[in-house]
């Protein structure tokens, strides 16, 4: 087993991996940029090294600096988490070159899955189902028109190097095709430095369902059940659950077997995820394979009782899978809410800043994977994921009710979060009936929000006065403690909001 693992990441996932290391008796090494010195992953790690400026290119994407820290600290393995360098074959190869084990698949597998068109070519060979369309980039607008005519409108244009919806265009009729193609190509150029675009039959409002696979380095590959990931905003997942409300044991077996076939065809090792589009008739089509740990892996952990990060590490250390497909038992239901620092009342603009009050839920069926703490200042430089709140229940209904209860207990003060969005989703009739697809959330957000009862305005008025008496200067005392400059601002501004109160006391 490894002696020391460097975690090439930050935030909740770095904390998640550091915990696994401690549980396995492995020394953990954190890295941090200028703005992350006080971040939770640095507090929790056994060792921590500064690696540069806030910009990811200067820090969490800087291979040379990270490998230098691995060398200095004597780490014998690197866990990339998700995002940043986790799907970068070049980095995986560089780790190999530096004699440090990359915890993930081989660079070859990563490269194969890195290009959607190449992946498609390889997977079609082994009979993996695909959405009708081109398996390689379009040479010309003319070719685009021919293919589109053949497979029938609406069609979807996609960037070969794409992801996160960039370089994607939905085309309803021939007239829209050429301009959409140009737009998609230039957007792909900007986003990925690669203008290659291909065309597929558009599946309107599909479900996005993915299958977790696990493969050791001796050819043993298993699937751990699916995750329903259809609830998205701007192609970003917001809430995930396992199992999917529409997948029965037979469909699970069929999807799982395809996923295993995909992994084997790619010579895949370690943890990976095969994403499928599912249409109204429950036909599923291969979308892509994510060659890393997913943000939403906890829902699979809760229904299988397994620890995916422990297994990733043990597989990378050369251990055999400790179980076979027949040993994997799915029990209960799990739902994950991604808590983002963003403002649901104002275009979901990101909301960095100092967390002045944090009340965290716990109790039965509640798991919290968090990268935040009270007093911490959320930096503006990285993505807005603060924490993941996961609810488990005997069945879907109980998971929903426990999660609703936990969200009620959850409070993050000083910044905006999307917690209220989840209250809305969990109480929505369509969601409760499991009627979700990739268009669900946009529809919900367009629909009129349920009238929020202001019945407690009088209570708030009374509370305002009592606060002014019992706790007038709270934020001042708080601001004093601020470890980083960011806090002062917030603290300072905040105080002025209540100086008045202080003055009143003198008056009466």
């Amino acid at each position: 087993m490894f002696k020391k693992i460097l975690i090439a990441n930050r935030g909740e996932i770095a904390v998640r991996v550091i915990r696994a290391c401690r549980e396995l008796g492995i020394t953990s090494v954190a890295i941090y940029s200028d703005v992350d010195r006080a971040s939770l992953h640095v507090r929790k790690a056994d060792e921590a090294y500064h690696i540069g400026a806030p910009a990811a290119a200067e820090s969490y994407l800087n291979m040379a600096k990270i490998l230098d820290v691995a060398k200095r600290s004597g780490a014998d393995a690197i866990h990339p988490g998700y995002g940043f360098l986790s799907e970068n074959a070049k980095f995986a190869r560089a780790c190999g070159g530096a004699g440090v084990k990359f915890i993930g698949p081989s660079p070859v597998s990563m490269e194969m899955m890195g290009s959607k068109t190449r992946a498609r070519q390889e997977m079609e060979k082994v009979g993996v189902p695909f959405v009708p369309g081109t398996s390689r980039g379009l040479e010309s607008p003319e070719q685009a028109e021919q293919v589109a005519a053949r497979i029938g409108y609406p069609v979807m244009l996609k960037a070969a190097a794409g992801g996160g919806g960039k370089g994607m265009r939905l085309v309803h009729e021939p007239g829209e095709l050429r301009p959409a193609l140009e737009a998609a190509q230039s957007e792909a150029e900007r986003a990925f430095g690669d203008r290659e675009v291909y065309v597929e039959k558009a599946i309107v409002n599909p479900r996005h369902i993915e299958m977790q696979v696990l493969a050791d380095e001796y050819g043993n590959t298993v699937y751990l059940g699916e995750r329903e990931c259809s609830i998205q905003r701007r192609h970003q997942k917001v809430l995930e659950e396992a199992p999917s409300p529409i997948v029965d044991p037979d469909m699970r077996r069929r999807m799982g077997e395809v996923a295993v076939r995909v992994a084997k065809a790619a010579g895949y090792t370690n943890a990976g995820t095969v994403e499928f589009l599912v249409d109204r008739d429950k036909n599923f089509y291969f979308l892509e394979m994510n060659t890393r740990l997913q943000v939403e892996h906890p829902v699979t952990e809760l229904i299988t009782g397994l620890d995916l990060v422990h297994l990733q590490i043990r597989i990378a250390a050369g251990e055999k899978l400790p179980f076979g497909q027949e040993d994997i038992r799915i029990r209960g239901h799990a739902i994950e809410c991604r808590i983002y620092a963003e403002d649901p009342d104002n275009n979901y603009f990101p909301s960095p800043g100092r967390i002045t009050l944090l009340l965290s839920p716990s109790g039965p069926g509640i798991r919290r994977d968090s990268g935040m703490y009270e007093g911490w200042t959320v930096p503006v430089d990285y993505d807005p994921l603060l924490a993941k709140l996961i609810g488990y229940g005997t069945d879907r209904g109980q998971a929903i009710s426990r999660l609703t209860r936990a969200l009620y207990e959850y409070f993050v003060g000083g910044i905006k979060t999307n917690i209220s969005l989840f209250r809305r989703i969990l109480t929505d009739a369509d969601f409760q009936a499991g009627k979700v697809d990739t268009g669900y959330l946009d529809r919900l957000l367009k629909s009129k929000a349920p009238e929020v009862m202001g019945e407690n305005a009088e209570v708030a008025a009374i509370a305002a006065g009592i606060f002014a008496i019992l706790d007038p200067a709270s934020v001042v005392g708080n601001g004093n403690l601020s470890p980083n400059p960011g806090n002062k601002t917030v603290g300072g501004v905040a105080v002025s909001g209540w100086k008045k109160a202080g003055r009143f006391e003198a008056l009466d």
Partner: protein
Amino acid sequence: MLYDITIDGKDYRLELERADAGWRCRLNGREIQIDAVLARRDVLSILIGGKAYEIKREHIANETHLWVGGVRYAAELRDPRSLRSRKGSAADDKGPKKLYAPMPGKVVRVVVAEQQAVEAGQSILVVEAMKMQNEIKSPKKGTLQKIVAAEGANVNAGDVLAIVE
């Protein structure tokens, strides 16, 4: 003590005194039996006629919010004797309007040129923060009078980005 309090735009007059038992409380002249204890900084537990309320307080930018249950209330405390008029909360479409940065970040793109006509809701510039591209839209129909924050500029929350006439 006497407070003028505004909750979500509605005004209340609160008389509050500590009594040996707990509190004497009159809201808009109406006597209310309350029991209150500060559980911790910014967290208040109030009992009114058996009902239990936990109120959380936060300050964002220069606003104070009080949360009762899952519902947020904007709260303002004022000195009844001061003549200082309150800042009008109602939006006013007359005259030039400033566009403020809703969060700290970097102006990555300016979409509209100065003196150009703009529609209400039209995107004027894009601020990047937390790896998101955030479109800042015009609050009204009119002319883009001035771009205050140029492309590439780093801005703080509340900075003026542009002015629409």
